[in-house]
Symmetry: C2
Subunit: 533 residues, 2 copies
């Protein structure tokens, strides 16, 4: 049975882990790092009168409406400011807003009514799912009303013949995966935050993750969306058809729009069949060139069963061994410059074993890899995956982390990591290559199969000198190889103004026109995803 | 070696087959069937002065510019009206426009300059690719200038490591497939018209076809587009990145927009690895219920190698046997109510053979299928595929064909075919079930795996009584099961006004707003894809 349902350490059980994260100084980003976007003067703040309007359209305002604004008639849940922290800040504590009001509607109609009140009163809104993003897209920048979708969490229908799921936007990805598993299906995406993230947020941010190599983009697997528009109109569209060429495909616009065009309230999605056999192997490799060679050979040898091809460099691997709280055993007797994890998923275990065995022999004989281990059982499968998935968590214990998520031609991927290491030495932030200084490490890991590299730089402190050494250098470098400055995380508030590194001016102009078409008052998720000027 | 490169009879070699089609009365649609959309009075007609402007911006106007408009200074290729027929009418001879001018630009810049002249002078334009569509989307309705992309046919780059192809929009799908095959890749789509259709047209119409089940929608595999906008601006975007979440994904809007928002001039697309082993099997099945059961069992037994699951009903099969010019042998000793063709594509022939053999035994033992044959060599693979692919061609020789392309929940698919047959009897168009009258046959076939049904009704004549018996009944029926009235063919001019059967009013309103945003003068492919009011 397919059973790699590893609960990631870093993000699973968000509510429980937030206090722990907060008390860990390595996670505490100073306010300096908060975004400096000026509050738009065209937005109104929420008043007691508006709160009364909100309360009037909610079926259970005493539980659905939280605010620091006092209620004369006890109409909503009046809370201390600190009780809104979990909604006002992201899981890293990096982006912190100051909203006085959180609404948790219980139906699409409630979302629409709340949105309509905001529209009529020029009140800015941030839609919020599981709040597991990395670019500050799901928390307010100033005092935007938070419409949190967590109470919109019902599965609406599942067609077990076609494998099509229709559900509320607030359903948690892992719960959906467990639900469809009972019928032999799986969600077409998987990511570290699966235990907390919402499917609506996944779609709004066009989440990538670990199954992208095999099952592709959400632009291909999302079949329909129900969306509340900024003026409170409900755009229906929860079709379950795999093929439908009738007019413009509007839903595509909302996929990856980061909550700037509408609030996704329902999702219809195609789920692939759950493979019955899974194998995981870990390779020790001498260079990134060899990683690329291995990728070609692996794709050729087990093309249709390949479901992941991930890489971790030695620096990341060392930090996992020394800093992860998970006590992860190194299955190798020595350290290698690069590690590759591959996963296969198929319908016949014997066939897959045979393919993998032949591949491994071929890789070793041709000296493309220097060492390799195949997981013998589910415990080992989980243990190997943990070595890859623990990188962000281990880094968080190693120092203050600057995170970048980029894509580019595979051949260029590791060059940037090496260039950044040299740059840290040149800038005097590290005394010598791979020698910790104010910058402690420059790590590269990610999804080779998708050309998607995560560069994480850990440092002693958050300080402008480090950020200045990285930016805009990293963005310019990525632009130089026609890469993307945000492969799968989105732009959010972190990179809204950086879009020009990856997108043409004319394209950005049309994005803004489309934004204005759907949201003429610019109320929905302001300061994010699109540049201000 | 993968080698099912069957040249379809119906559409391949378009230029060569058009005269033959024209001389066959079964193909000759009377003018009655032409679209009645009134010419918009806001459009200007092309004048000699405009022709001079066109000529001035083309590098080779004597070959790139064809017109019936006389040229005083011999600036362009002046032709007889009949020489424009091949551009003015579709391959079926069903949709016939009256353009006086065809431009075949040789570069994106030329497309942009021509478009700019049209924009400045309020001249309507129809972009034209291989002109293999089925809904009249690629021919003028009145006197629109035809911008034919066939001279824009260069491969721009192919990255053999990543499998990403960048090419001009006018490249022919089959040529691209042959090109990438040399490096071990394949195009992610395949359709009957592959020998004539352009990749730009495929993208503009979001073509589905035979590989959809395995490789999914173009919304997932297209990585970037270069588009000339109605005002002549060039929107660049030929990124080759598999992941890129920087702002709104504008390219998605053009996929399936049927040439109404911009003219696609370049395409960047991800190509999957070409499988090294292919198997094809044909089953005789007793009912559509059994077809569905077979689909579940096949997906379970060979999920990751399944690349097609097609069905053909007995009526279609009989017509192939009697009317196809291809002399296709029936591999079975008797006729069955339903036929299923499955194809597997994998990396290990022994493994795939074993899976298929076990599946076949299981299907026969459980009596889900009553007969089954597996192709033993490439000749048989082609022969089995021909039995499925010959349906449209055979039908064209059987009578005048009313074609519908719909999608819906799989369980409902065949009910509609049966209902239509009964309806033809009720309406007195057939004397009894399966007994040819004025209506000769009601055939169902298509892509079961995608819920995509092709219903073809052949009749003695084209006559309003037959059309009235089919429409709007068929559209209302599809609407009743939340299906799509155009699964993969698009709306074109045939179904532009029918969009309401599949799309909500508010959605259509937003489609029109987006159309107005990109094309405020409504010059690009007017009368098509979107309703007039």
């Amino acid at each position: 049975m397919w059973n790699r349902l590893v609960k990631p350490v870093t993000m699973a059980g968000r509510v429980a882990t937030v206090p722990a994260v907060r008390s860990n100084p390595a996670w505490a980003f100073p306010r300096f790092y908060a975004v400096k976007a000026t509050r738009s003067s065209s937005f109104q703040s929420v008043t007691p009168a508006i709160m009364k309007q909100f309360a009037a359209v909610l079926s259970t305002p005493k539980t659905s409406l939280l605010s620091t604004i006092p209620s004369e008639d006890n109409e909503w849940n009046v809370v201390d400011k600190s009780e809104l922290d979990v909604f006002n800040s992201d899981w890293m504590g990096k982006y912190i807003g100051g909203s006085a009001c959180v609404v948790r509607p219980k139906s699409t109609e409630e979302v629409a009514k709340i949105m309509r009140i905001c529209y009529d009163n020029n009140i800015a809104v941030v839609p919020q799912g599981g709040n597991t993003g990395l670019v500050g897209g799901s928390v307010p920048v100033h005092d935007e009303v938070i419409i949190n979708l967590s109470a919109l969490n019902k599965i609406r229908e599942f067609d077990a013949t076609a494998g099509t799921l229709v559900c509320d936007a607030g359903c948690i990805l892992e719960s959906l995966d467990e639900y469809v598993a009972k019928e032999g299906y799986m969600m077409p995406l998987d990511l570290g935050a699966k235990g907390s993230c919402h499917i609506g947020g996944n779609v709004a941010t066009n989440a990538g993750g670990l199954r992208f190599l095999r099952y592709g983009s959400l632009h291909g697997s999302v079949l329909g969306l129900e969306v509340v528009l900024p003026n409170g109109e409900i755009l229906p569209g929860l079709e379950t058809l795999r093929k439908d060429n009738t007019g413009l495909d509007l839903k595509q616009l909302f996929i990856g729009s980061e909550g700037t065009l509408g609030i996704i309230t329902g999702v219809s999605i195609a789920t692939p069949r759950r493979p019955s056999a899974t194998n995981v192997a870990l390779f020790g490799v001498e260079s990134f060139d060899a990683v690329q060679k291995a990728f070609q050979m692996v794709r050729k040898a087990c093309g249709e069963i390949l479901s992941a091809f991930e890489f971790v460099d030695q620096e990341s691997y060392n930090i996992v061994q020394t800093c992860s709280t998970r006590n992860l055993r190194d299955p190798f007797e020595q350290r290698y410059p690069m590690y590759v994890l591959i996963e296969t998923s198929g319908s016949n275990k014997d066939h897959d074993d045979e393919k993998l065995q032949a591949l491994l022999e071929h890789l070793l004989e041709s000296e493309v890899i220097v060492d390799g281990v195949v997981a013998q059982d589910e415990t080992q499968i989980k243990a190997f995956w943990a070595l890859r998935e623990a990188v962000p968590e281990a880094l968080a214990h190693h120092g203050r982390v600057y995170k970048y998520d980029i894509s580019m031609p595979i051949s260029k991927m590791y060059e940037l990591v090496e260039n950044l290491r040299h740059r840290m030495v040149e800038k005097g932030l590290m005394p010598a290559l791979n020698t910790p200084g104010r910058v402690k490490s420059v790590c590269g890991y990610g999804h080779v199969g998708d050309g998607n590299l995560h560069i994480n730089i850990s440092a002693e402190l958050y300080e402008p000198a480090v950020e200045d050494a990285i930016e805009p250098y990293i963005y310019e470098w990525v632009q130089g190889v026609r890469g993307s400055i945000s492969a799968e995380h989105g732009l959010g508030v972190m990179k809204a103004e950086k879009i020009g590194y990856s997108k043409d001016r004319l394209a950005v102009d049309y994005m803004k026109k489309i934004k204005a078409l759907f949201d003429p008052k610019g109320l929905l998720n302001p300061y994010k995803a699109l540049p201000s000027e």
